[in-house]
């Protein structure tokens, strides 16, 4: 999984910003309350915590992003969708599309 997405930072984020995002994320997902999410966050932080790690990740990371295209899409969506709810207009469109499905 994309560690930047898990921590909610851009690729341009520096060490301090990434650390802040990491601390905020682990505060929200404590190891006791959300063990799986906590592991995901910790692993993501290890991958991009400093410049050297970020370079390593960009150059050599070979971890599978999914088992199939839809699986990769869903894994991405799982993290991305949680970050913020849809805006009101987008929510209306989403509900209208749901009612037609």
């Amino acid at each position: 999984m994309n560690p930047y997405l898990i921590l909610g930072v851009t690729r341009e984020a520096d060490d301090a910003l990434i650390r802040r995002a990491y601390l905020a994320a682990v505060r929200a997902a404590t190891p006791e309350g959300h063990p799986v999410r906590f592991q995901e966050i910790s692993a993501a932080y290890e991958k991009i915590k400093d410049e050297r790690s970020r370079h390593r990740h960009e150059l050599f990371d070979c971890e599978a992003a999914g088992d199939s295209p839809v699986d990769a899409f869903l894994r991405h969506a799982r993290t991305q969708a949680r970050r913020a709810p849809l805006g009101f207009d987008a929510m209306k469109e989403f509900l209208r599309a749901s009612s037609k499905s």
């Binding site: 370079h55 050599f60 070979c62 992003a65 999914g66 088992d67 295209p69 805006g87």
Partner: protein, 875 residues
């Protein structure tokens, strides 16, 4: 697809009617209204009372689907037909729905309020919810159309639901709760509160609660449909309708784990996409998915490439996620699928048909990483450099990243491998010159890249370019004064070139950085002892004694720690004194060593090895050898032999040319005699590890294995040794699966991880496809001259390292003295791959006493007084 239903008739049998009803009910459950209606039209002729309610249901579903799809006129036609077959009370909700779709929401609102709040006749629960959904989905500002308390209450609840949805979008969680409190549990809108709470829980990472709330939604309502993509994202795929027709016929995906993702419907994937702003991608994604699952990995990539304009992309969005997926997939795909995918990328690169720079960039990176171990070095280097050039063009220069990249390339080029051939030979680097070049480039790009320095140091070591290595180490100690690894490497280098004072200074600094690393005191002791040896040799015995005394703070009472035990330092002193110093001092040191050593034979064997290490000359001779042989005869036990073998291993670690062949022969004989005494399984296992591949130990180890298996016939360690042939393992065909499998089962049962791993690796090797059969007409029979040539080649193998000569001499010696039966046994066990004709010639040569002709002698170099440099350890 269901098969066509035979036209029903009054004579249709009860079982077939029952079967047809079941199928129609399945179609209704799957919301395949039109299909269900068509089948029911035929069935109703047979049994009107039984099938009429189902026909009404199918038509109502169809009408609603038409309304949802904006086909109001068609829905009106269905409604007209329904008016003829269904009671008017059942159609009220549908009529209202039609009215709402046909008129503006403002015009139809009063009818809805009346129908929901003050219905002339009670509505069915499902119909109430359908109407409530339409009311909410209108998203109109609600003015109270009626005056009854029920209508006023409903309007307030509707406003609360809309306000809660708006607050949810604005992430005002407390407002969401406040608004939802205004909606009664008995309200027709109550299922909307459940949905909104579920969405809030989803975004609060409370996945359990979100899942429970979404699953509690009444089916076929808008909130239940809207909850499906959320449930999919929560991992609950059972909630999402899957494309059953595809799953039934789909082969196992190329890389999916068993029991993987069911193929979701386009509607669900579309809804998931909407949640992350990826609208209209479901069709492309499902096409790519189908190809992927059918093994068409390249077609899958092409479908995505053609269907998604921004693909492939560097961005951290869903397109970037798909890009990452495809370009990392070769690392996990099966061999066949990987070949297909990479062949497609190869075609794109060769034809320069890449869609955008990101595609070429990722392709070069993927080829480099996937083929790093097997690609020809020039291709690997070219691909990796293309990747770096592309990256620089796309994202700007980044010296640190490029330094890291070149460091990796240097590591790949510096990988060592053994040249192919029957006879083992020294490993060689893949591309030593290239490795040095790219590692130097890596260091130039980022002088703070410690890994690149250490790798380059290792390459110089492997190339035996000691002056370059020492120069580099001097630079490293200046650049990384506080890096323990650098200090240790520098200290080792100093010891190699006999710069003991400088080496000890590096070790002192390393100790300040890490007091617990055992390697630092080991090297310190080694440095002092080497210095002492040099001083003794140069005639400065008192200084030598002082140097030996310097090691005192680093010594331990652990008798098995041959580097730092008190008795071993006394042995060293005794060896130096006896060789270059004072015999009286030598006797005193030896007495001290004898008192501290675990046994007399241990002390004498260590002294023998220490003598050989300090002389660093070929033959197995020392003043201690005769006495050691006597002591060994008196002190034979498996534990003792094991300790002596450990000392031998310690000696080999200090000087790779020690080659204790004669010593091993002595130990092998002693082992044979010691097997009469009891020994532990742990000792036996260690013996197999330490001596299992030495020819001299073949017979005693066979006896040892037999004894262990006599007591425990299933012991997996010893069974494996027995079936692989011990020291002859490399000359044997691997055991067959039916032999290995029971050993694996037993190893797993006993939780013996080492043996389990070994046997699994052997089983994996068995799975490799066999070599192709020889071409037709190939006859492996040798005539006389061919046999002689083959024997000649066997005895004079091209490139036979001189150090293997003793092994061959030993083999010829065994053949020379063996009885005919033993000769046959040697052929079967040690040289089964040598054809009989060739073996006969070899035996003839051996019996003729010709021995192994020596390889041509290398021109002698002038002997330098100083011992060779670049040798690790003591001397």
């Amino acid at each position: 697809m269901p098969s066509p239903v035979p036209t029903a008739s009054p004579s249709a049998s009860a079982p077939s009617a029952h079967f047809a009803e079941q199928r129609v009910r399945t179609l209704l459950a799957e919301e395949k209204w039109r299909q269900a209606r068509d089948e029911l039209k035929a069935l109703i002729k047979a049994d009107r009372a039984r099938f009429l309610p189902l026909l009404i249901q199918a038509n109502m579903g169809l009408a609603r689907k038409m309304l949802a799809g904006g086909q109001a006129a068609e829905a009106r036609q269905v409604l007209s037909y329904l008016a003829a077959i269904a009671p008017p009370s059942e159609l009220r909700a549908l009529e209202l729905e039609l009215a709402m779709r046909s008129a503006t929401p403002g015009q139809s609102l009063p009818q809805f309020f009346t129908a929901l709040a003050d219905p002339p006749a009670p509505l069915a629960e499902a119909e109430r919810r359908q109407l409530a959904d339409l009311l909410v989905m209108g998203f109109e500002p609600v003015a109270v159309p009626g005056t009854t308390p029920a209508q006023v209450g409903l309007a307030a609840e509707l406003r609360a639901i809309h306000a809660a949805l708006a607050a949810l979008a604005a992430q005002q969680w407390s407002v969401v709760s406040e608004q939802l409190r205004l909606v009664s549990h008995r309200s027709a809108l109550s299922h909307w509160t459940v949905f909104i709470k579920g969405v809030a829980a989803f975004h609060a990472d409370d996945t359990d609660r979100a899942g429970q709330l979404f699953q509690a939604l009444p089916p076929r309502t808008t909130p239940a449909r809207a909850a499906q993509p959320y449930l999919v994202l929560l991992g609950d795929l059972s909630a999402a309708p899957a494309s059953a027709t595809f799953i039934a016929s789909a082969p196992k995906p190329a890389s999916a784990p068993s029991g993987g993702l069911p193929l979701l419907t386009e509607a669900v994937v579309d809804q998931v996409g909407r949640l992350i702003g990826a609208v209209g991608v479901a069709g492309t994604l499902l096409r790519a998915e189908r190809h992927w699952r059918e093994g068409g990995v390249a077609e899958s990539y092409r479908a995505t490439r053609e269907g998604v304009p921004a693909f492939p992309s560097f961005e951290p969005d869903w397109v970037g996620a798909l890009t990452e997926f495809y370009f990392k997939a070769p690392h996990t795909l099966t061999e066949t699928s990987r070949a297909k995918l990479m062949s497609m990328f190869d075609g794109l690169l060769v034809g320069q048909r890449w869609k955008n720079p990101v595609e070429s960039l990722f392709s070069y990176r993927m080829f480099s990483l996937v083929d790093a171990a097997i690609a020809p070095v020039e291709i690997l280097r070219k691909d990796w450099e293309f990747f770096l050039v592309g990256r620089r063009a796309l994202r700007g220069p980044n010296p640190q990243l490029e330094s890291l990249a070149y460091g990796w390339l240097g590591e790949q080029l510096a990988r060592s491998s053994r040249p192919p051939g029957f006879f083992p030979s020294a490993p060689v680097l893949r591309d030593a010159k290239g490795a040095v070049e790219v590692l130097q480039k890596s260091i130039t790009l980022d002088p703070a890249n410690l890994d690149a320095h250490l790798r380059l140091c290792g390459v110089y070591d492997a190339l035996k370019e000691t002056s370059e290595r020492n120069r580099l180490l001097d630079t490293m100690t200046a650049r990384f004064p506080d890096e323990k690894l650098v200090l240790l490497r520098a200290a080792e280098s100093c010891l190699d070139r006999r710069a003991f004072v400088k080496g000890l200074a590096y070790l002192a600094r390393a100790r300040q950085l890490d007091q617990l690393d055992p390697r630092i005191p080991e090297l310190t002791v080694s440095a002092h002892l080497q210095q002492a040896r040099q001083q003794f040799q140069q005639g400065h015995a008192p200084k030598g004694r002082e140097s030996v005394a310097e090691v005192a703070p680093w010594l331990t009472d652990r008798t098995e720690d041959f580097s730092r035990a008190r008795w071993t330092s006394a042995v060293w002193l005794g060896v130096f004194e006896r060789r270059w110093g004072d015999p009286t001092h030598a006797a005193a040191a030896e007495a001290l060593a004898r008192a501290g050593a675990p046994s007399r034979s241990t002390q004498l064997f260590f002294a023998h090895v220490a003598h050989r290490l300090s002389e660093k000359r070929g033959p197995c001779e020392s003043p201690y050898l005769a006495e050691f042989k006597t002591a060994l005869r008196a002190d034979r036990s498996v534990g003792e032999i094991l300790r002596l073998l450990r000392i031998g291993a310690y000696g080999c670690a200090q000087w790779e040319d020690l080659r204790p062949i004669a010593e091993n022969r002595l130990l092998a004989e002693a082992l044979g005699a010691s097997l009469e005494r009891p020994f532990t399984r742990a000792d036996a296992v260690e013996l197999l590890t330490r001596a299992g591949e030495d020819f001299g130990f073949e017979r005693p180890l066979q006896r040892l294995v037999k004894k262990v298996l006599h007591a425990d016939p299933l012991d997996p360690v010893f069974r494996l040794w027995e079936v692989t042939g011990g020291p002859q393992a490399r000359f044997h065909l691997p055991p067959e699966r039916h032999v290995l499998q029971p050993i694996l089962d037993e190893a797993i049962r006993r939780r013996d991880e080492v043996t389990t791993r070994r046997v699994r690796a052997m089983l994996r090797d068995l799975d490799h496809p066999p070599l192709p059969p020889p071409p037709d007409g190939y006859d492996p029979v040798f005539d006389g001259s061919e046999a002689a040539e083959a024997a000649e080649e066997f005895l004079h193998p091209p490139g036979l390292p001189p150090e293997l000569a003793p092994e061959y001499e030993e083999l010829l010696e065994a053949l020379r003295t063996a009885s005919p039966a033993d000769v046959r046994a040697i052929h079967e066990t040690r040289l089964p791959e040598v054809p009989p004709e060739v073996f006969d010639v070899i035996v003839g040569i051996a019996k003729g006493g010709l021995g192994l002709p020596r390889p041509p002698a290398a021109p002698r170099k002038p002997v330098r007084p100083a011992p060779p440099t670049n040798q690790r350890g003591l001397f």
